[in-house]
Amino acid sequence: MDDKNTIEEKIRKETLVRKAVSVDPNAAKAGPSTIQMTDGVLIPKKGEKHILTSWRLTFFGALVLSAILIVFFPDPYRQIFRTCLRGLPVTFEVTIFSIIGAVIIGTFTGLGSVSKRRWINMICGVYVELIRGIPLLVQLIFIYYAVGRFFHVEGLVAAIFSLSVCFGAYMGEIVRAGIQAIPKGQMEAAIALGLSRSQAFRYIILPQTVKVILPAIGNEFISMLKDSSLVSVLSLEDILRCGRMYISRTFLSLETMLVVALIYLIITLVLSRLVGVLEERLHKNG
């Protein structure tokens, strides 16, 4: 009886120690890793032959098909290309400004989620949950109307604002994961030197976080470019809307949508390659 008790006691202690050891803040940890959050864009890197090959196949396939259409079927394809490409500036404008907005919102949300203040965590958490739980299109239209009704801003600004808010939540999660990927010892060393927590974030944690999350931001940029096509419902003349306006004039629906798809595909593929190159550079520079 006595024996059994001590053995049980021993086992209990052992597991207690083991469990606790796993949260020992002094445990040497591996360096920061890269955070990947993507909705499926495959970014080809040099090492991954098969992805690079399939990237090439798709990219050149799309180019060749576009060339064939333009050269051998100038009517109606030349006209369709010309019309749809008129939406390019709006698409890029919306994408670039929205991603900047999303990064700014995301940085604050990310910092808020790792804050020591409970109520700030709560606000950020609710924001993220809210955005994640509502379809992008619904949010977009809702925020667009809300902003339009209360601030009387022009459509482009309202669209950029809505996309920023929607993507800001995902960006916040990326920033949070990035901050948490930085070894705990970094914060401790900074604080032990007498820096305040906010100084430590500014000079030590965030600069390292940027490196870790840059590829993920690149991915978001690509997603944003594709999802920016949703603003066509807000009567902004982006690529998709230009295409649909052309359809309503000519009823060439299939032909036009083929061209719209090709344009998006080519841009997306170029961007994903660029992000891949960027990431390689980043790794090379340590």
């Binding site: 209990r12 597991t15 207690l16 120690v17 469990k19 606790a20 050891v21 949260v23 002094n26 040497a28 940890k29 360096g31 070894p183 010892g185 970094q186 401790e188 060393a189 900074a190 604080i191 032990a192 030197l193 007498g194 820096l195 305040s196 100084q199 000079y203 030590i204 600069p207 390292q208 490196k211 340590g286």
Partner: protein
């Protein structure tokens, strides 16, 4: 330079399996200019005790006085304490995105508002002192473990601390690099720095320590001069532990 008094200090952690008493009623004094070495088996609470001194962990009960100022009192400016008490970690914790020089100048510039030229001058002096003058402009990842730890010591010294804490500064190092770090620490001890450290380098303890503390299970079980502790320890757990590691 500074006197560290630890009075009846306890630290509990709440874990999923209940409360864990990491440190139990510890009492310890490090007098001005003294070097005190803490030894003990893994999980005995050595790091926790050390980390309470500069408030990286908040003590559950008890007091820590540094030159009479109570670290655990609610109104105390903890950042001021941390400026005055340097800490060196087992895993170096250098900032990888900054150069060696920037690692050292950051805190003096941001915390003490020292101007850049002065901070760099100070950093170069410190690098010379730890024998790494030629490494000012490289990034920490390009250094060996021993070199990194020496930079970490220089980084701490740049704040001109009154006392230094070391948590197993040589445990992560290859044997051939341990000496270069211990040499720097021995110099510091000779210059009269108040030092509280966790280390199992018995050679260092014998050469530099005024006092050796043995901890087990969160309790300080025995303390004495290095000669006494290593040649004629009294507590059976100390004897057992020393038999294991010597």
């Amino acid at each position: 330079m500074a006197k560290i008094e630890i009075k009846d200090l306890s630290k509990d952690y709440t874990t999923p399996n209940g409360v864990l008493h990491a440190v139990k009623h510890a009492n310890l004094t490090v007098n001005d200019g003294e070097v005190v070495v803490i030894i003990g088996p893994s999980g005995s609470g050595k790091s926790t005790l050390l980390r309470c001194v500069n408030a990286l962990e908040t003590a559950t009960a008890g007091h820590i006085l540094i030159d009479g100022i109570d670290v655990t009192a609610p109104g105390t400016d903890i950042r001021q304490i941390r400026e005055e008490v340097g800490m060196v970690f087992q895993s170096f914790n250098l900032f990888p995105h900054l150069t060696v020089l920037e690692n050292i100048t950051l805190a003096p510039m941001k915390v003490k508002k020292m101007d850049k030229a002065e901070a760099e001058e100070l950093a170069r002096q410190l690098l010379k002192r730890v024998g790494l003058s030629d490494k000012a402009d490289v990034h920490p990842t390009q250094l060996s473990g021993g070199q990194q730890q020496r930079v970490a010591i220089a980084r701490s010294l740049a704040m001109k601390p009154k006392a230094m804490l070391f948590d197993e500064p040589t445990s992560a190092l290859d044997p051939e690099m341990i000496k270069e770090v211990l040499d720097v620490m021995t110099d510091l001890a000779r210059e009269g720095m108040t030092m509280l450290l966790v280390t199992h380098e018995m050679g260092f303890a014998k050469a530099a320590a005024d006092k050796v503390i043995f901890m087990d299970n969160g309790e300080i079980l025995e303390e004495g001069t290095p000669e006494k502790m290593f040649t004629s320890p009294e507590n059976p757990r100390t004897i057992d532990f020393l038999n294991h590691i010597l």
